[in-house]
Symmetry: C2
């Protein structure tokens, strides 16, 4: 019996290209004392993978070694177990990689109930959800009546930030890169406003909908939407910098706005990445699971089929062409 896995073969200079990965088949491994064998059903494709592929010494977690299985989070079932904490049949989630089977000693694995669809887990309760929850509630500290602007608002993180902010009583301005996404944000997610940053008159549209200024800014993209939102911030505004997907593939990132408004408006800008806050995963996950059960959170998943779709599929994220959480079904 063999299985497929995808190894990192090179580091990206700019774009992620398929030649940076190698697909291999190997015999399904035997497990040692304390270990489990997991057969994966779904793996998640996330923007963070660009950072894990690069050897940037400033990155927040160690890069994947060349020749190692590419890091990715996934869901599966324990099919063999030498570990009493994870008996055969247990459904688990963890950073198991782009692989059909994974061996684990249980560290970093979390149990999942059987009755939540994998799409819901990866779209809401896993990395996107905990990122949205932490950034909104711990960094931005929203209050009812405030106005929040969210870039990549139709993305897996942004769409949850906006829905949680709306439920908290904020005015939500979502910024996305297509009419289709804007329609989804307004019609399905009930955002107050959804703007396409590719429109020639985006700045005027923003000024019209943010006529009382912006109190909170959840930044996922960088790029051309950043400066107009920043310049519309109100005094004592707060900015959570979660992602800069428009910049990750550039050799030389574009400059940011002058800091002069940081003083004039006494802005607070905080960057965050979730590995610093993994000790709070279960707390956040429970809160998100509760919202999901109450029907407060809508999501959509963009499903690719088979591991071979992963190396090309990742780029949908960087082109903004995914419609919902990008997931590979195995």
């Amino acid at each position: 019996m063999t299985y497929q896995k995808i190894l990192l073969a090179g580091r990206p200079e700019t774009d992620i290209t398929p030649d940076l990965f190698t697909s291999v088949r190997e015999d399904i491994p035997t497990i040692s004392a304390g270990e489990v064998l997991v057969k994966l059903s779904h793996v998640s494709l996330d923007p963070a993978m660009r950072g894990w592929m690069s050897a940037d010494p400033n990155s927040y977690i160690p890069p994947v070694d060349i020749g190692a299985t590419m890091r990715a989070s996934g869901i599966g079932y324990v099919v063999q177990s030498n570990n009493d904490d994870f008996p055969e049949g247990t459904r688990v989630i963890g950073l198991m990689g782009l692989t059909e089977y994974a061996v684990s000693n249980g560290q970093g694995l979390n149990k999942l109930p059987d009755d939540i669809p994998a799409e819901a887990v990866l779209s809401v309760i896993a990395l996107p959800g905990i990122t949205a929850y932490h950034g909104l509630f711990e960094v931005l500290k929203p209050e009812a009546g405030q106005t929040i602007a969210i870039t990549a608002a139709a993305g897996s993180v942004g769409s949850l930030v906006g829905q949680m902010a709306k439920n908290k009583g904020l005015t939500v301005i979502g910024i996305a890169g297509s009419e289709e996404k804007c329609t989804w944000l307004k019609d399905e997610l009930k955002f107050d406003h959804a703007l396409n940053y590719k429109d020639a008159d985006f700045e005027q549209q923003l000024a019209a909908v943010a006529n009382e200024g912006i109190d909170l800014f959840f930044e996922n993209t960088g790029g051309i939407a950043q400066a107009p939102i920043y310049n519309a911030m109100n005094a004592h505004g707060r900015i959570a910098v979660c992602g800069m997907i428009a910049e990750y593939n550039k050799t030389e990132p574009a400059p940011g706005p002058s800091w002069i408004n940081i003083i004039k408006k006494r802005l607070m800008i905080q960057g965050f990445t979730m590995p610093d806050h993994f000790h709070r995963i279960s707390e956040y996950g429970q809160a998100l699971g509760g919202m999901l059960a109450k029907g407060e959170l809508t999501y959509r998943a963009h499903i690719l089929k088979g591991l071979d779709s992963a190396p090309e599929g990742i780029n949908l994220l960087f082109k903004g062409e995914n419609q919902g959480k990008l997931i590979v079904e195995l």
Copy 2:
């Protein structure tokens, strides 16, 4: 009996020019019930005055009206009093303006002991000191063993930030714009390092002294020193944005650095201005007075003589040509 005062006559587009002020002489006013007449001995020239002169709607306190006495903080003695809180002979400090005499109902006036020289009050306990204290202890929250970089380090705020950080056990890197200032920082204030940002190899000098990175950045200037310091920040670094004196006189401020390092290093950037924190003035003033009495804070004052020196003198701040706290002695 007449006295001199200086009125705001126009708003600066770029540089502050003497024609933006008018000097007038008027009869010394009579005071009403509850009022006091103060004869000023010293007025303070501060970078914040640039903002008070402009009509920028984003500014943090209302601008000075055209034709009104130019706002400035100063020290003087009550020479006539209809207010039991401030009897004749009381020494006071407050935003009394560029004037030889001021009438006040006591609001915004604070009493001063007679035995502290005016230079020490305006250099340490007044705006520069409370700004340095708030920015260092409340925004940056320093810990012994950390490294701090300070721009305009020989300025009235920066020189106090560096000394308080040194006393707290930090490694202090001061950045200034002349050899004379750097020598003062190292020889008199005992900073660990003092670098001249005008040196052609400033970036290499910074990399050499900040070889373990920078944890805290107290930003007073903007300009060419900003990006190299920002790029040298360590993970979880904190930046207090207190001033951007290199940018205030520009019609179009220079762009800032890309936000990508804000994520990678999970930086926190906070702008602040003291009017938001004036309720803590007396607490900060007491702490600073204690440090001054213990000989922990060295300062130097740059004294100009007579009100007529103020309109030209303000520009010494923007050219970096003042040596110490800029004060007009009346």
